[in-house]
């Protein structure tokens, strides 16, 4: 239900609205959704988005497999998820109607491009009768527009060919939706001119289509359906609307700038991680080097080689790629060099659901290596939080000279939200101290350099080639404690295994105290990690409004776990762990703390909705 207040004679104000754009992959729905989002962001709404597209670039046109959708939740107050059931569904063809209608709230609004509802398309979508005519949409409020025809008409006078004109129909939809939700038109028109600069015919067609859609609302007397969502009250500052992969890339750039060492990214394209490679490749002026390697093994290898040379080695991938990187991670653990490994999780195993989200790589990140090979794991909570997570991963990697795995997922990668820009000066310091002098005396009393002498953090010196007097040889064979020379001695191996483990445990000493949110007198604590943050926040709000006392902890450092976590968890009767896997974090919590952590699992390629979680929380805590 939309909460309304009758304010203006023709525009109803609502607190929030969830719009879902759906059409064929070729219909430009991602772009339409993205534009609508941008206009809303600039207007000052809080928002969250969820793009969902098929794995195939162009699945057969008009089929269910080819449906591409984009959901956006806009609000006049703080929101954390792209919303559950959409209030409004834009359907550009019958397949989109067939696939997406079940999600729409009952009594919701449907906006339809009637031109696409011909016999052929209806048959492809599996409709026996036209839903626009057989009464199956009774109970919804349906707005129909012959978008394709109207777009062609306005383009005809501009001399644009009908086939090209047809491609602008998504701008008609955008214009219409912008009118319905009282969005400012300038950002979209401005964007069209910038995006298609130099292609005047395309600009003209898209602008004409957009304006025609806008005017359609006026003339078709749809005023009764018109809604407005006021700007949200944000903390003062400068905001931008950002997705997770961009925020993550910028976090890496920021950390590299603060640390004063250039980024070297080795990567092999894979959805949903490729956009980080694309983004970083744009920033060569920051001294960023990107290598599109021959495979994921080469990608991490090259990154590790660059780290050995004193650069900030980074590699980005998704689950299948992380599996390939396992052996090199073992080497990185043994070499004790900084390295940032980013896993944008997707549905697995194998190719699984490559464009859908999942968070089932936690145990692989923890244990997916040969030998005792511990390494820190960091995760991100929301799209903009990917900036912080990337920065934190670099901080740990550089300070403790260790590979760090950062877990994000497909939902965070592509989802967007407004982000208050951090102040560059206030970013925490990341200092790098390369070794420059000898650090030991050999038997003959000569000053020598031993690569495995450690500081208080148990980190070894980062001595990069080119440094006079520090020549040394290191490798994956077990090293003698201190000298770093090859050693097959059993006791030494035991000691080195223990030191490597201890060094990673020490990372937790650098965390701030764990934040527990919610009710002080709660008997339930919800422990989450990663992108479930938004849904948990929302569901918890619902529980508390209903009078249930709850507390929550959202972990961002998954390995080592915070020192104070065990004490916190033991204070509660119920420990509930919602996860987009079959209970991986709860397994770890049980093993670490002997607490009876209960899992709430969803492994369907889609994030939890707040309603779903709320329901499950109630069930679990009864």
């Amino acid at each position: 239900m939309i909460h309304t207040e009758e304010l203006l004679p023709e525009v109803r104000e609502v607190e929030r609205i969830i719009v879902r754009f759906a059409g064929d992959s070729g219909d430009g729905m991602q772009l339409t959704g993205d534009r609508f989002t941008s206009a809303s962001a600039l207007f000052g709404n809080d928002l969250a988005t969820l793009p969902e597209f098929p794995a195939e670039i162009r699945a057969p046109a008009g089929t269910l497999a080819g449906v591409s959708a984009f959901q956006v939740h806009i609000s006049d107050h703080d929101i954390t998820t792209p919303g559950d059931a959409p209030n409004v569904l834009v359907t550009m063809n019958p397949a989109a109607m067939m696939a997406e209608l079940p999600r729409l709230e009952s009594g919701g609004t449907i906006i339809v491009n009637t031109d696409a509802f011909n016999e052929r398309n209806l048959a492809k979508a599996g409709y026996e009768a036209n839903p626009l005519e057989d009464g199956s949409l009774d109970g919804y409020s349906v707005i129909t527009a012959p978008m394709t025809d109207l777009t062609k008409q306005v383009c005809k006078d501009l001399g644009v060919k009908p086939r090209d004109a047809e491609r602008s129909k998504n701008f008609f939809a955008l214009g219409l939706v912008s009118w319905l939700f009282s969005r400012p038109t300038d950002p979209s028109l401005h964007w069209i001119r910038e995006k298609f600069a130099g292609r005047d015919a395309v600009i003209a067609a898209n602008e004409a289509a957009f304006k025609a859609g806008h005017a359609f609302g006026e003339t078709a007397e749809l005023s009764a359906s018109r809604l407005a969502v006021r700007p949200a009250r944000f903390e003062p500052g400068t905001y931008t609307n950002i997705n997770g992969n961009t925020a993550l890339s910028w976090g890496l750039v920021a950390a590299s700038q603060k640390a004063g060492i250039p980024i070297f990214l080795g990567s092999y394209p894979i959805t949903p991680a490729s956009d980080i490679l694309h983004e970083l490749a744009k920033h060569k002026n920051f001294g960023v080097r990107t290598l599109q390697a021959e495979d994921e093994i080469a990608a991490i290898g090259a990154a590790l080689g660059a780290s050995y040379g004193g650069h900030l080695g980074v590699t980005t991938t998704s689950g299948p790629g992380l599996a390939l990187k396992g052996e090199t991670l073992g080497l990185a653990v043994s070499l004790e060099l900084p390295l940032v490994v980013i896993d944008i999780q997707r549905g697995g195993p194998s190719t699984g659901l490559p464009t859908k989200t999942e968070a089932a790589d936690l145990l692989m990140a923890h244990y997916g290596r040969h030998g005792e090979a511990p390494l820190p794991i960091v995760s991100a909570n929301s799209p903009s939080d990917c900036f912080r997570a990337a920065y934190e991963a670099v901080r740990i990697a550089v300070r403790y000279r260790t590979p760090v795995i950062l877990l994000s997922d497909g939902y965070l990668a592509n989802g967007t939200e407004p982000w208050r820009l951090p102040s560059v000066e206030d970013l925490p310091d990341i200092s790098v101290d390369f070794a420059s002098v000898a650090n030991a005396l050999n038997e003959d009393g000569e000053e020598v350099f031993w690569p495995y002498i450690r500081n208080d953090d148990l980190a070894r010196p980062w001595a990069v080639p080119g440094t006079e007097g520090l020549m040394h040889r290191i490798g994956g064979i077990e090293k003698e404690d201190g000298t770093g020379n090859i050693s097959y001695d059993p006791e030494n191996h035991g000691r080195m295994v223990a030191i490597r483990d201890e060094r990673i445990k020490k990372v937790a000493d650098s965390y701030p105290p764990t934040v527990v949110e919610g009710d002080a007198e709660a008997d339930v604590v919800i422990v989450g990690w990663g992108s479930t943050w938004g849904a948990i926040t929302s569901a918890m709000g619902r529980m508390r409004r209903a009078g249930r006392k709850v507390a929550r902890v959202h972990l961002t450092n998954l390995c080592p776990l915070p020192n104070d976590l065990g004490g916190i968890l033991r204070q509660y009767d119920h420990v509930i762990v919602p996860e987009m896997n079959l209970g991986q974090l709860s397994k770890i919590l049980r093993a670490e703390y002997l607490v009876d952590a209960k899992s709430i699992c969803k492994v369907e390629g889609q994030p939890f909705t707040a309603a779903e979680l709320h329901h499950k929380f109630q069930e679990t805590t009864q």
């Binding site: 000052g44 290598l291 004193g310 490798g475």
Partner: protein, 337 residues
Amino acid sequence: MTDAGVTTKKDWTSDQEVRWCPGCGDYSILTAMQLLMPELGTRREDTVFVSGIGCAARFPYYMNTYGLHAIHGRSPAIATGLAMARRDLDVWVVGGDGDMLSIGGNHLIHALRRNVDLTILLFNNQIYGLTKGQYSPTSEVGKVTKSTPMGSLDTPFNPISVALGAEASFVARTHDMDRAHMQEIFRRAHDHRGAAIVEVYQNCNVFNDGAFAALTKKDARAEMLIPLEHGKPVRFGPDGERGVILDDGVARIVSVAEVGVDALHVHDETAADLSVAFALSRLADDRESPTPIGVYCAVDRLEYGGGIDAQIAAAQADRGPGDLEELLHSLPTWEVT
């Protein structure tokens, strides 16, 4: 870079005990390298040896330089990152035939095609030494080993042909019995800008003894090794009585007396078209036929790391050095007061 100063073999020798089997061909390669280094005019601290796993891959431990003994097959990839990040360094890559052509084959061909500034030494002993004697991707067909008791069935790689097929810009072959030749070839490979690969015929006296003896024994060399010299007719034999002609694109060994000197192929290592070099590489299709050694090709082509650095310089000239504040404001923003 400061002056390299005068150094000797001792300066380039690490304090680690060498642990190859007595009589292994790897020793002579190591000595050749340690003796050559003082002549190259580079500093020890600017020199890095990167290797994979295998007997050959132990090489870095014995050089008093920086050294990275990595994992099986991945050294070309690891060295690629190092050489791209640090173009001031001399990066050498050492590995065996299993390391570079089996598990690491993909990395090797891509490093070559990309033309990163690496000097790659492939110690070919036609066997897996460290794992105690299984056949390798360069072993001859019918090889009887522990893993192929009835003889191997698969056609081996010819490393030179593979390298040329991978668009390598510098390809050469030498062998462990001729220090002067090794040093000459290592020096050429080192001086080459871009990826250079040298196949070194290396004797594993424990698991594949004498694999190249028919070619590299002192008294066999004149008959069996065909020296490739830039700008000269390809000719061999104790009195230069045999030579190589190109017959419809195929290299054939002929008697000079029969065809005349003018008919011989004149070696051009700078030829951008690698097909002649490839034809020459096909001469060595078994260990009993005469085999070309020396530099097959040395072509000047864009070095990858330099290309990346040029793009960085161009981006900085165009947009100025990166400004974080500017980056954060690069998408549409709005103010909340």
